[in-house]
């Protein structure tokens, strides 16, 4: 495993915001990502969380497992509520608090798409983070439009999903917002740098975060980081930023522009129980789709 060399300030700054004893499954990627958010904003953030795993992770009434303001909202309205809060803060002259809409792939790509599109069009000053665990994990692993091709879910039980993943980052680029990025929980320093950049930009910022779910993807909890890393190393997940009308490839993904340097896709698939029934033709289809994605990146760099 190639290791990213950590820079010392990050661990000290990420301490004591995400409190121990939350209700997440062992190996959950959500608190890992929150720790990076904490390193950037400390407690100066307002998280707007629709119905998703995260609303369970922060816990029920008397307690709250994250030392920041959390607003629980209905499924479709994360971006709408966050834009309201952002405007209210602007009217009151509060500049040091960041509004963050934190939604899953169901609350972004399927149910929350309308309010997300509206907030992006109005260009409110907020960060929208979509943590992508590629199914409705909270309600029992149902297929979402962000589930990849061939993956098993409880609603695609026999042959797996027959459609490809919806690429929300590209939809957001088409909205013409000032900043769009993809990130992965396996590269916290890359995610940290992207959040720092997003913090300095006024307007709508969108970050698509890849987050492997041990329960729904059917793997041992200890492989969470390894699988997120393999997704980048096999070229199936590409880390990039979009600003000034151009795609800027991020450091961890740069070597994998050359297909010869990528690891075989099978290595990523065989660790996960949800890809147990993959046939060689389906693996070819996944490779073809990844290659198409890379072509799109190369054309817009």
């Amino acid at each position: 495993m190639a290791q990213t060399r950590p820079k010392p300030p990050l661990p000290y700054r990420m301490r004591d915001i995400v409190l121990p004893g939350d209700a997440a499954c062992p190996g959950c990627p959500i608190p890992m990502a929150w720790k990076v958010l904490a390193a950037v904003f400390r407690d100066k953030m307002i998280l707007v969380i629709p119905a998703c795993c995260s609303s369970v992770v922060v816990g029920a009434y008397p307690g709250n497992s994250i030392k920041a303001s959390v607003v629980h909202v209905a499924f479709a309205s994360a971006a709408a509520v966050a834009s309201g809060i952002a405007e209210a803060l602007k009217k009151r002259g509060v500049n040091d608090v960041q509004v963050i809409a934190w939604a899953g792939d169901g609350g972004t790509a399927d149910i929350g798409m309308a309010s997300l599109s509206g907030a992006a069009e109005r260009n409110h000053d907020m960060i929208y983070i979509m943590y992508d665990n590629e199914a409705y994990m909270n309600t029992g692993i149902q297929r979402s439009s962000s589930t990849p091709f061939g993956a098993w879910t409880t609603t695609t039980p026999i042959i797996g999903k027959t459609e490809h993943k919806k690429d929300v980052a590209r939809i957001m680029i088409a909205h013409g917002v000032p900043y769009v990025a993809t990130a992965s929980i396996a590269y916290p320093h890359d995610f940290y740098a992207k959040l720092q950049k997003a913090r300095r930009i006024r307007g709508f910022k969108f970050i698509h975060l890849h987050a492997p779910c041990p329960t729904g993807w059917r793997f041992d909890p200890k492989y969470t980081v390894e699988i997120a890393k393999l997704a980048v190393e096999t070229g199936l997940w590409i880390l990039y930023e979009y600003y000034d009308g151009k795609i800027h490839l991020s450091g961890p993904s740069r070597p994998y522009m050359d297909p010869a340097k990528r690891k075989p896709v099978e290595e990523y698939l065989k660790l996960q129980g949800r890809f147990k029934k993959m046939t060689p033709e389906k693996i070819e289809e996944i490779k073809k789709y990844a290659e198409m994605y890379w072509d799109w990146i190369k054309r817009h760099m």
Binding site: P11, G21, D22, A24, G27, G63, V225
Partner: protein, 94 residues
């Protein structure tokens, strides 16, 4: 529960706000089946276990090395998987 008053005093003037606290889901250390044990001789103090720990129970100090709060550690094993020097091993819980 029938016939019993669930709400003793009305919450007319109080807003039911959650406050940050440790252990929202109880002592999550009880969930653990395997326990991470650190070999401080092998540790190179790279902070990777602290960065990736999903429950934020690992603290790495440059002088003393990593310490783990076993009250809340869920035993997921992410720390042992990311450790570059193999200093953390998962030991089955008695």
């Amino acid at each position: 529960m029938a016939g019993q008053d669930l709400i003793i005093e009305p919450i007319k003037y109080r807003v039911p706000l959650s406050r940050p606290e440790k252990g929202v889901a109880g002592k999550t250390g009880f969930w653990r089946t395997e326990k991470p044990v650190v070999d401080k001789e092998k540790c190179v103090k790279c902070w990777l276990c602290e960065i990736y720990c999903p429950v934020d129970v690992i603290r790495v100090e440059p002088e003393t090395g990593p310490t783990i709060d076993y009250d809340y550690c869920k035993g997921c094993g992410v720390c042992s998987n990311v450790c570059p020097s193999g200093a953390i091993t998962m030991v089955p819980e008695e």
